[in-house]
């Protein structure tokens, strides 16, 4: 533990210091910025001391010694500094990626490589890619595209990228006024980008993320946010909701940005004040978006919903991947005793444990999952010529449920739909889409095998703790299956079907049949 007269104390859990309100501080390890914070976000106790816990990405890497410094962002002056030792490790604390490149915690709480740590040629190559995307949006999608959010802020303030930023944000203006038309136009833009070789990921109805391969072998994202006007208001997903009009956006103008001329809105200050508040001209690396509840709900209501629980599952597989069993589940073996090898859709294949089992037993498997990369390790053990490609499958997306179901209906033969530990992990809407998909996939006949936690499992111990689960009564699920056109041919419920660590869940196994 380190200590200095300013009340600056550092240990494995965090640090404490004394400072007035309104201070923005960079946190440095060995003269390298790893994080920034605002004193206002950490109210002082009775003695005027503010206590800060290390963000989880930093806490997990705290082994060794470091010179920990708090530096005033505005002036660059050292506010407090101390030598600290963490954990039991030797050497210095290393906040770097696998190739030794420095990392910092972003405003979203994750580690990434900020622009200030990159070589100039790497930044230039990335900006070349940004300009290419701008020209695709303008020339091939036919929408005016411009810098947005953090990139617009840096461009207007200083003509350059903000050093602690990690990606470029773009926007485009939709001339449609109804959110449904804005979203539909976004689907068309997504297809154009995909046809040009990009791999856009749709985060919501007005936000696309493109992951661009970099010369150093990494990928850096480029985010595209939709802007539009409606009833005297100017909106840009997620954080611009302000009185405004098309005249605030168009005609676009260009400004100097990193030695180039890049398009920006006609009145960038309208966007900047709406997103960052009246003090947008003052650099603040600790800034956090905090839209009004009313505005947040409106934007989310129109455009949101696709990412429900995706971030949770991403964190879950990253943190618990090694604990999740990789051997076939008892349910997979149970199904294999009842269903001869044939065409099978493993819906929500997770880490791929049961897909691997079915492939090894001669089934022709299409695995489907929200996070295809979660099964990379397990399925990587299959011989390349038998290894199926996991298809991205987001049941929050009606388009995807219908399109994938439509593709499956082309089988025109009996198929099997397999869903283990799937139903209770779905929202009500996702579950509706699951039934839509299943009834389409089984239009040629076949069976759906389900294993899910029942309502009697709600209070029983959970190996992975409490998180979103919809505990379903077998009767309710059977009714949904029948409403989807299936016939329930088997139901059994109880415990001892799939015990794991400290839990022996109350489960239901159900078989639902569809006739062609």
């Amino acid at each position: 533990m380190g200590e200095l007269g300013t009340g600056f104390r550092v240990d494995d859990d965090g640090f404490s210091f004394q400072a007035e309100d309104g201070l923005v501080l960079d946190v440095l390890f060995d003269d390298r910025r790893v994080w920034s914070l605002a004193s206002d976000d950490f109210p002082p106790d009775g003695s005027g001391t503010r206590s800060v816990s290390w963000p989880l990405p930093i806490r997990k890497r705290l082994e060794g010694a470091a010179t920990v410094e708090l530096r005033e962002h505005a002036t660059g002056a050292t506010f407090a500094v101390t030598e600290a030792s963490f954990g039991k490790g030797d050497g210095r604390v290393l906040l770097v990626d696998s190739a030794g490149r420095p990392l910092a915690v972003t405003k979203w709480g994750r580690l990434n490589r900020p622009f200030s740590t990159l070589d100039r040629d790497v930044v230039d190559a990335y900006l070349d890619q940004v300009e290419q995307v701008l020209s695709v949006l303008r020339d091939e999608c036919g929408v005016p595209a411009f810098l947005a959010f953090g990139s617009l802020l840096g461009a207007v303030r200083e003509g350059k990228l903000i050093g602690h930023d990690v990606d470029v944000d773009l926007g485009y203006f939709s001339r449609h006024e109804h959110p449904a038309d804005v979203i539909r136009e976004g689907f068309r833009i997504e297809r154009v980008l995909r046809s040009r070789g990009y791999e856009p990921v749709r985060e919501n109805g007005g936000f696309l993320a493109i992951f661009l391969p970099q010369p150093d072998g990494t990928r850096r994202n480029l985010d595209i946010f939709t802007a539009f006007c409606c009833d005297g208001m100017l909106y840009q997903v997620h954080d611009v909701t302000t009185p405004g009009s098309e005249a605030d956006v168009l005609p676009l103008r260009t400004i100097h940005f990193e030695g180039r001329r890049i398009p920006v809105p006609s009145r960038p200050e309208v966007f900047l004040e709406a997103a960052y508040g009246p003090s947008w001209r003052v650099p603040n690396p600790a800034f956090q978006f905090n839209p009004r509840r009313l505005d947040r709900r409106r934007i989310h209501g129109w455009f949101g919903g696709l990412r429900e629980r995706r971030d949770f599952w991403s964190r879950h597989y990253a943190a618990e991947g090694r604990r999740i069993p990789e051997t076939p589940s008892p349910f997979a073996r149970w199904v294999a005793e009842r269903e001869p090898a044939g065409r099978l859709f493993d819906v929500g294949c997770g880490n791929g444990r049961d897909t691997r089992f079915f492939v090894a037993h001669g089934y022709d498997v299409t695995p489907l999952d929200l996070l295809p990369r979660a099964s990379r390790r397990v399925l990587g053990r299959l011989p390349a010529h038998t290894r199926p490609q996991v298809q991205p499958f987001n049941l929050q997306s009606l388009r995807q449920a219908l399109a994938t179901g439509g593709r499956a209906s082309f089988e025109r033969r009996p198929v099997t739909v397999y869903g283990r530990f799937l139903l209770h992990a779905l929202s009500d809407y996702s579950r509706e889409n699951f039934w839509r998909f299943t009834s389409m996939a089984l239009s040629g006949g076949g069976r759906c095998y389900l294993e899910f936690r029942t309502d009697r499992d709600a209070t029983l111990p959970k190996a992975f703790g409490r998180h979103f689960r919809r505990f379903l009564s077998p009767e309710a699920v059977a009714a949904e299956a029948r409403a989807a056109g299936g016939r329930v041919v088997h139901t059994e419920a109880g415990r001892s079907m799939s015990p794991f660590e400290n839990e022996d869940p109350h489960l239901c196994r159900m078989i639902v049949e569809w006739k062609p």
Binding site: H178, P179, A180, D181, I183, R184, F187, R188, E190, R191, R194, R202, G205, R297, R298, G301, W302, F303, G305, Q391, S397, L398, R399, Q400, L402, A403, T404, G406, R407, F410
Partner: protein, 97 residues
């Protein structure tokens, strides 16, 4: 004989005054030092229910966009009964998101 214009105007004014005085009698006089009524639990619940209904309606925008997009992209090849083209389009559409 029909009353004059002035007489009719005076009568209308008198009727309006009568109606106004009648309304004043029906309205209870404000009490001194009374604090404004606080929204009760039922009003909070109604606002919460309204917010939920508005949000549900907002979500329809995404559903409408999805369905329109799906139909538009796939309807024409479906109408031409070109099964191979439809199968290919469906595969591309599915891979596209």
């Amino acid at each position: 004989m029909k009353p004059s214009l002035a007489a009719r105007a005076r009568q209308r004014l008198a009727d309006a005054g009568t109606r106004l005085r009648a309304r004043r009698r029906d309205v209870a006089p404000p009490q001194r030092n009374a604090s404004p009524p606080r929204p009760g639990p039922s009003l909070r619940k109604r606002v919460g229910d309204l917010e939920a209904e508005v949000q549900e309606l907002r979500r329809l925008s995404f559903r409408v966009a999805e369905l329109t997009d799906l139909v538009q992209e796939l309807l024409v090849p479906a109408a031409t009964r070109d099964e191979e083209r439809l199968r290919k389009l469906l595969e591309e559409y599915d891979a596209g998101h």
